[in-house]
Symmetry: C2
Subunit: 205 residues, 2 copies
DNA sequence: GGGATTATTGGACATTTGCGCAATAGCGTC
DNA sequence: GACGCTATTGCGCAAATGTCCAATAATCCC
């Protein structure tokens, strides 16, 4: 194995871990699998990570954190709260395609037994909720949305999305991706008092 | 160990498995733990179950199926769709108390790798959705609820509940049990065009 | 009471896991 | 070019896991 700068090596290990996690799930990810993916020895992983828990937490944070950042940046480019909300749904629904949602399922389940992972998933979920919450607050201020309790509404929109995605990932033929897209947007329209179609109809370009 | 009738023994094994699963989670449940819980040898478990997968699936079905039946029976006793919906929320929110929700989290995550478990969780989730759906259809027929798409609305109400519960179980200090109760009912009120408080206010007895 | 049936035992076995450690080898410095 | 630092190796270890099986003992039937 080529000798690497510690920082780069650490990144490479995290990337390899993420690849294995996406392929096999968090629970089935082992040090040896990561080493094979990396093309290195298993001892090397422990030279950079003190425990399996830390390794998994770091990889999950990298992946889920990047998704959040992508969506967050896209939302910022929305001209008004309604467009921001549309961008949010576009981005959130897309990021699911590459099985990122199975990682979240694993993370939530493993949170009970892996403290470091738990901390990260909690922090990221709160950040997602806050992102939605700020969009709603903007929308209410601008008179575009109706909402008595933006904090609760944001948790509901996030939980609805997660709950629907969960069905899609765990039981693919119960709920399809198209239904998740349609139903979650319709749910947000109802939640925020928006006219039917506000979030689903594409405006002509 | 007392020699038992095969049917009773099978039940005892399932009960013991369930106890271990609730204590440690599905992923951390081992044959030896179940044997200890049962006060018997590990070989006995394999005399009744051909594989670990079957054992776990059977125990999960017992637990989750019983919860569904309890709620279903309670809903049936509601005099009108609104009361049925209130009973539904009462029952669904209560059953969560004894960490039944962590089992669901594990089941959804493990579904990707355990075919038998996946089949059961899918079937039960569909049944939950149908239970809600029939309440909504009754409510619309009676002119008590407003809903253009009961199938979608039922999936939304179920997913919202699951998504909120998920946060409570995985990250207990993000969302509390009281908030799950309040926010999910408020969500259903909005979804079904019910006046604020319809599902939350207790009518004087 | 004796024999057949089978519930139950308890350990063997191969595999896998996370982790540690002494040895090796690549890189920078003088 | 020699030396020191450390990235990297690769095996060893103990613990845990699912599965299997020959031996044992309890129950039932005649």
């Amino acid at each position: 194995m080529v000798r690497m700068n510690p920082d780069d090596r650490r990144e490479a290990i995290i990337a390899a871990t993420l690849a294995v996690m996406q392929r096999q799930g968090i629970a089935a990810t082992t040090v040896r699998d990561v080493a094979t993916e990396l093309g290195a020895s298993s001892g090397l992983i422990h030279h950079y990570m003190t425990s399996m828990d830390e390794l998994i937490a770091a990889a999950f944070e990298r992946s889920a954190g990047a998704d959040l950042l992508t969506t967050s940046n896209l939302v910022e480019q929305g001209q008004d709260p309604l467009e921001q909300l549309r961008f949010f749904f576009d981005s959130y629904t897309r990021s699911d395609g590459d099985s990122g949602m199975q990682l979240w399922l694993d993370a939530w389940a493993e949170a009970a037994r892996r403290p470091e992972l738990r901390q990260i998933s909690q922090r990221l979920n709160k950040a997602w909720q806050q992102l939605i919450c700020s969009i709603i607050e903007g929308g209410v201020r601008a008179g575009l949305m109706t909402c008595l309790d933006p904090v609760a509404a944001a948790w509901r929109i996030l939980s609805l999305l997660d709950g629907l995605h969960l069905q899609e990932v765990a039981h693919s033929d119960s709920v399809t991706g198209a239904q998740v897209t349609k139903w979650s947007r319709r749910g947000a329209e109802i939640e925020l008092g928006l006219p039917l179609g506000t979030l689903t109809e594409r405006e002509p370009s």
